[in-house]
């Protein structure tokens, strides 16, 4: 039994994957709570898909993926704003059209016969391919994201509670929303390499959604979300090691398993009763 716990740690790739998912889990758990409370789950998933062409182009020309993803996010955001302003479409329709188009363009590039092998991993992630440099970048970006979240915690809480009152308290609500979306983008940028473009939303939304079902306090919610993300991440990587399944997909299945357990706990606690707003 003990051997089965320690054996995967003797492999550098698995060890690095465990460290990477621990870092991603802590950051995603914290920012995921704001994604859920600000009802940004759709935006977070859209951001992840929208930056895909940027990732693919960066991989094709040999530029850093982080840089490609950052450019991809900015282009996607600009196109969504333009589509909303220049047409009569609602913002969610504009997002759906722009993001699907960008994602399709990215897939077209990634799956073309001339693309180098391995580029398809951008779709599903490659946790086991995390290098020491990737972990260092994820840790640095994650620390910065957590630092800004700590600084803005009370203002985020006030605006999420009631944005009009937040404005009346002197908080610049528009600026705060832009900062939050920038932090979500940064988190996606470092998480997408491990979990892939199609699966990254799971670690951003799943743990926070699970935590919300079992607590009605913000700090415990963040701690539970981070613990769920890390535990499910580690469980997924162990499952991947022993069952020889894809690491990213195994982590996502473990995350959703945690959500179902939280939902069952919530039912038992009577927390899934219809909520007033």
């Amino acid at each position: 039994m003990i051997d089965s716990v320690f054996e995967p740690l003797s492999h550098g790739t698995t060890l690095r994957a465990l460290v990477e998912i621990t870092v991603l889990g802590i950051v995603s758990g914290a920012i995921g709570c704001w994604i859920v409370l600000y009802e940004l789950s759709y935006s977070a998933e859209s951001l992840a898909h929208g930056l895909f062409p940027g990732l693919v182009i960066a991989a094709l020309i040999g530029a850093p993926l982080l840089l490609g993803g950052a450019v991809g996010v900015l282009v996607a955001a600009l196109l969504v704003v333009l589509a909303t302003r220049l047409t009569d479409e609602s913002s969610d329709t504009a997002i759906a059209v722009v993001i699907t188009t960008l994602f399709g363009a990215g897939v077209l590039l990634a799956l073309s016969p001339s693309s180098p092998p391995g580029i398809q991993e951008l779709l599903f992630g490659d946790l086991l391919g995390a290098s020491t440099g990737d972990i260092a970048i994820a840790s640095a970006v994650g620390a910065a994201v957590l630092g800004v979240l700590w600084l803005l915690h009370d203002r985020l809480l006030a605006v999420g509670f009631d944005s009009d009152s937040g404005r009346a308290l002197g908080i610049s609500v528009g600026t705060l929303n832009v900062i939050l979306l920038a932090l979500v983008s940064l988190t996606i940028l470092v998480a997408v390499q491990g979990l892939g473009n199609l699966l990254v939303a799971a670690i951003l939304v799943g743990p926070a959604a699970a935590a919300r079902l079992v607590t009605r306090r913000i700090r415990p919610m963040m701690m539970i979300a981070a613990v769920v993300a890390v535990v499910a991440g580690i469980a997924g990587i162990y499952a991947s090691y022993y069952l020889r399944t894809a690491a990213g997909a195994s982590v996502v299945i473990a995350l959703m398993g945690c959500y179902l357990i939280a939902a069952a706990t919530g039912v038992l606690q009577g927390r899934l009763a219809p909520r007033d707003r």
Binding site: D154, S165, A168, I171, R216, R275
Partner: protein, 260 residues
């Protein structure tokens, strides 16, 4: 708070304001001094919220002037709050400190003590650690007033605070408003209940422009109410000139102080 003789918290002089250069409220003239209770009457869309936003400094004058010499805070309708949001009453009351702090500062121990003091003032210190969503409508309203007290507000803007309150909760809110005025705070209360405003110091009637401002006994004539509400007025039998609003203008659902 010590009242400063001659000090005015808010002075409007031929004030007009609106959005995107379009005037939605005009001809506003009033002076609000310390400790004054002001009833704000007007139909939906008549300019009450616009006036609140102007007093908070969120929108600029398009004509005339509005001088505010008081820390101002708004107390929104409690049914607009998110009841499933993960905050305690103390968390909500502490939010008021953000109005006083620069953006890089977080509320500290002193701010939380101030927030607890605010909860004591509104009679809810014992519910400080309870979830905001677990309180009744009247209690939530009082927590939002505690938030304004944490902001050290001198001028409180209450947006239809009696909506949804049963008579016991409404009486408790009446006493709290009296307490606030006695401490030197001025309170402007948006309401549809004309009779209620008769007990306050001043009444301000708006319908896209100022219809009247003054003591209720002098200002609340049938003509003023007709101009304010567009003719939907019922005269009180045996009291010529006295009028009340028809029921649909102050239709509220009721909840109970102890109900969750």
């Amino acid at each position: 708070m010590a009242a400063v003789p001659g000090r005015s918290f808010a002075v409007a002089d031929s004030f007009a304001t609106g959005y995107d250069g379009r005037v939605v409220l005009s001809g506003v003239d009033f002076t609000i001094g310390p400790g004054m209770k002001v009833g704000l009457l007007g139909p939906n869309g008549g300019g009450k919220t616009t006036l609140f936003r102007a007093l908070l400094g969120q929108i600029r004058p398009l004509a005339g002037s509005l001088k505010v010499d008081a820390t101002t805070a708004t107390v929104p309708q409690s049914d607009r709050s998110r009841l499933d949001y993960p905050v305690t009453c103390l968390d909500v009351a502490t939010m008021g400190a953000l109005a006083r702090l620069p953006w890089w500062r977080r509320p500290g121990r002193r701010d939380r003590a101030k927030a607890l003091e605010g909860l004591e003032t509104v009679g809810l210190a014992d519910r400080a650690k309870d979830s905001f969503g677990d309180l009744s409508g009247g209690q939530r309203q009082r927590v939002l007033i505690a938030r304004a007290l944490t902001a050290e507000a001198e001028l409180l803007l209450l947006d239809e605070p009696y909506t949804g309150l049963d008579s016991a909760s409404a009486a408790r809110l009446d006493r709290l408003i009296e307490d606030l005025a006695a401490r030197g705070c001025s309170v402007m209360i948006a309401t549809h209940d004309v009779d209620q405003t008769r007990a306050w110091d001043r009444v301000l009637c708006l319908n896209e422009r100022q219809i009247a401002f003054g003591e209720p006994a002098e200002s609340l004539s049938r003509e003023v109410l007709e101009a304010t509400y567009g003719g939907h007025i019922v005269e009180i039998p045996g009291q010529p000139g006295q009028a009340v609003m028809p029921a649909h203008h102050c239709d509220h659902e009721h909840d109970h102080e102890d109900g969750h």
